[in-house]
Amino acid sequence: MSQLTEQTQRPPASGFGAGYLAGIRDVVVLELKQRLRSRGWYIMLAIWFILTGLVTWLTWASWNAQREAQRAYSNFLPPDTGPGSMIFEVVLAFVLLFALLVAPALSANAVNGDRAGGTLAILQVTLLRPGQILWGKFFAAWAAALAFLVASTPFLVIGVALGGMTPGHVIVALLMLAVEVGVVCAIGVGISALAGRPLFSIVVTYLAVAGLVFGSLIAFGLGTGLSQGTVMANQAQYRNYEPLRPVPDETAPQEPEYTCSGPLRAQPAVRTERVAWMLAMNPYVVVADAIPYTVRVNSGLGMSSPVGAIESISQGARYAMAGPEGTYPCANGEAKPQYLAQSTPLWPLGLGLQLLLAGLLMWLGWRSLRTPAHRLARGTRIA
C-alpha cells in the first residue's frame, strides 16, 4: 500500500530532469519572496510560538501541581518517570492541531488567489508547465507551514529533555508532523486549483481537514455498527482472578491469561477491521501510530494498559485493525496476545490513503492548470 501510494504524489507530467526542477524552484522563490514580505505570516508565527510555549508551561505546571498533591495527601507515589512523556504528548497533540489549522490557510488560496489577482495567467503564458506551477505552489506552502513546526521544535525538545523520551521520538514526531502538514498543503493547493474563489477553497480545505480528524472517527464509529459479523471461536477458560497477588515478572508478550478449549463456534463479533482504514486516515492516528514505543512488561497489578495518549491511540487503532480474528478471545481456538502487543503498524495504510487523496486532488488541480485550456470551471475567467 505504502509503496503504491508514494508514487501517486509524483507529478503527472513527471520530471524531465534539471530543467523541470529549476522551474519549480523559480516558482518556489517567487512564492516565498511574497510570503516572507507579508507581515501576517510573522505575526502568526509569533502567536504560534507564544501559544505553544504557554501550553508547554501549563502542562509542566499542572504535572508539578498534581505530583505535589499526590505527595501531600497520599503515600502512593507513581514511578518517577518525569513529566517528559506527558509534556511531549500534549505539545505534540497541540502542535498537530494547530498545524492542521494553519496549513489550509497557507495553501488553500495558492492558485485561485493568483487567479483572482490576475497573476496566474501570467505564469501560465510563460514556458512554465502546469506541474511546475502546482509543485512550486505546493512546496512554497509546505515550506511556510514547516516554519511553524520549526518554531515549535524547542518545546518538543523540552518535552524530551524533561525526561522519559529519547531524541528519536522528537525526530519521528517532527517527521510525521511535517508529512501530515504536507498532506494538508497538497490538499489545499489541489482544491485551490479546482475552486473558483479563495474563500470557497479555504473553507473546503478546512472541511477536508475536519473530515480527516473528526469525520474519520465518526465514520469509523458508524461503520462499526454496520460491520456486524461472526468469528469462529471456542471457550476461553480464565485462570482464577487473583487481583492482589503480584504476577511474577515476565517478559512480553505476556502469556495469555486463559486457555482455549472446546469446539469452534460462530460467535457474534464486530468486524472492526473492515472499517479500520477510516480510522487510519486520522492524522492523529497516523502520527501516534508512527511514534515508536516499547512493549512494556506488566505492572505489578497484572493489568497491561498503555501509558499515555500516544500509546492508547496507537493500540486502539491497531486493535480495531486486527479485528476479532486477532483480538477475540480464542478466535480460531488460539489464545490472543495481550492488548499492548498489537504490533502491526497502521500508519502506512493511513498515510497511504491520505497521500492518495492528496495526490488525486493535486492531479485534478494539475488538469485544471493545463493550457491551452479546454474546459473552464463555471464563471472563471482565465485572466
Binding site: 501570467i122 491551452p372 485572466a383
Partner: protein, 322 residues
C-alpha cells in the same frame, strides 16, 4: 510620428525562416451557452500593427486568450509563425508576448524582481538576465522605480511594467489587451511610438482597444469583431479612403446650410454644444468644400474631422447592428 509612419514601408527583416505573424482560422469558442467566438478569422502579419476592434463582449479578450495559447478553441486553428500552440507549446510561448487587460503584478515584489522572475520562467540565459531587465526597465521608463515594490506604482506605471514583462523574452508576436487604458496622454504617445518601433523591428502586434482615434495613429489595419464574429477587415488607409465624417460650424448657420444644399450635399445637423452640421467626406472633397465655403463668404469657424477613420467604420457597424 511621421518618421515612424515612414518606416512602415520598409519590409521587415525576417530573423527566422518563418515569420508570418499570428493568425486564427475559423476559431470558435463557447462557454456553456454563451458563444463567445464563432468562426472568427484573424490575421496579424509580421511587421504590422493590427487593431482588434469591437464593442464590449464582442469576443476580443476570448480571441486574444486563444491567440496567447491560454485557451484552446473548440474548433478552428491558431498558428503562430506557422506553429500550432497545441503541439509546439514551448516554441509558441517563446514567440508570444501577452499583456492582459488585468494588470496582474505581484505587489510585494519590485519591478526588477518581477522582470527577473519572468525572464527565468522564459528560461533566458541566466548571465544575460540582469542586463536584459535593466534594458527593459529603461525602455518603459521605470528605472527610477525599479527597486520599489510594485504596489507603490501607479496604474500607468504598472501598465508599463506589464508591457516590459510582455517584451522581456523578445517575442515576435505581441498581444496587447487594452494597452492604453489608464495611461496619461504622454504615455500614450510613448506607447504609440514604441509600438511603431516594435512593428518596424518585424514583430507582429495585435492591439485591442476602445480608443479608436488612438488606433488610427498606430494601426496599419483593423479587424472589427462583433458578437463573436469577424465583421470586417480593413486597412487604416482604406478606412480613410472610404471617407470620414467632418463637423463644420459657421458664424451663420443658415448660410452654411444654404450653401451646402446648393452644393447638393446631404448633411446632418448636430445637436451638440455648439450648432454644427456634419457630413461624410473624402479627404480631397474636404479641401475642395472648405475652399468653396470660404469663397462663398460663409464664415466657417471650425472645419474638422468629427471622428477617426476607424471610428467611422466602427460606428457604421454599430448602426448596422441595430
Amino acid at each position: 510620428m511621421t518618421e515612424n509612419w515612414d518606416r512602415i514601408g520598409i519590409p521587415a527583416q525576417p530573423e527566422s525562416p518563418r515569420q508570418d505573424g499570428i493568425s486564427a482560422t475559423a476559431v470558435s469558442r463557447s462557454f456553456g451557452q454563451v458563444h463567445a467566438v464563432e468562426h472568427m478569422d484573424f490575421h496579424a502579419p509580421a511587421g504590422k500593427v493590427t487593431a482588434l476592434i469591437g464593442p464590449n463582449g464582442a469576443g476580443k479578450t476570448t480571441l486574444l486568450l486563444m491567440l496567447a495559447s491560454l485557451l484552446a478553441p473548440d474548433s478552428g486553428t491558431v498558428t503562430v509563425d506557422g506553429l500550432d500552440p497545441q503541439n509546439h507549446r514551448a516554441e509558441v510561448r517563446k514567440r508570444i508576448g501577452w499583456m492582459p487587460d488585468t494588470l496582474g503584478v505581484w505587489e510585494s515584489l519590485t519591478a526588477r524582481e518581477i522582470l527577473t522572475q519572468i525572464a527565468r520562467f522564459y528560461r533566458l540565459p541566466k548571465a544575460g538576465i540582469p542586463q536584459r531587465v535593466t534594458e527593459m526597465l529603461d525602455r518603459v521608463r521605470l528605472s527610477d522605480l525599479a527597486d520599489q515594490p510594485a504596489r507603490v506604482l501607479s496604474r500607468g506605471q504598472q501598465q508599463r511594467l506589464s508591457l516590459a514583462r510582455a517584451l522581456i523574452h523578445d517575442p515576435s508576436v505581441l498581444l496587447l489587451d487594452e494597452p492604453a487604458s489608464g495611461l496619461d496622454p504622454g504615455s500614450r504617445v510613448e506607447l504609440r511610438v514604441m509600438l511603431r518601433q516594435l512593428a518596424a523591428e518585424g514583430k507582429s502586434i495585435v492591439v485591442s482597444s476602445h480608443v479608436l482615434s488612438e488606433l488610427d495613429e498606430i494601426a496599419d489595419a483593423a479587424v472589427f469583431v462583433n458578437r463573436g464574429r469577424t465583421v470586417r477587415h480593413q486597412t487604416t488607409d482604406a478606412a480613410a479612403a472610404s471617407g470620414r465624417r467632418y463637423a463644420i460650424s459657421a458664424t451663420d448657420g443658415a448660410a452654411l446650410a444654404a450653401k451646402l444644399t446648393d452644393l447638393g450635399l446631404t448633411f446632418r445637423v448636430e445637436d451638440g454644444r455648439r450648432p454644427a452640421v456634419s457630413l461624410v467626406l473624402l479627404n480631397d472633397d474636404a479641401a475642395r468644400l472648405l475652399r468653396d465655403l470660404v469663397l462663398a463668404g460663409v464664415g466657417v469657424s471650425s472645419f474638422a474631422p468629427a471622428s477617426g477613420a476607424l471610428e467611422e467604420t466602427y460606428m457604421n457597424l454599430e448602426g448596422e447592428r441595430r
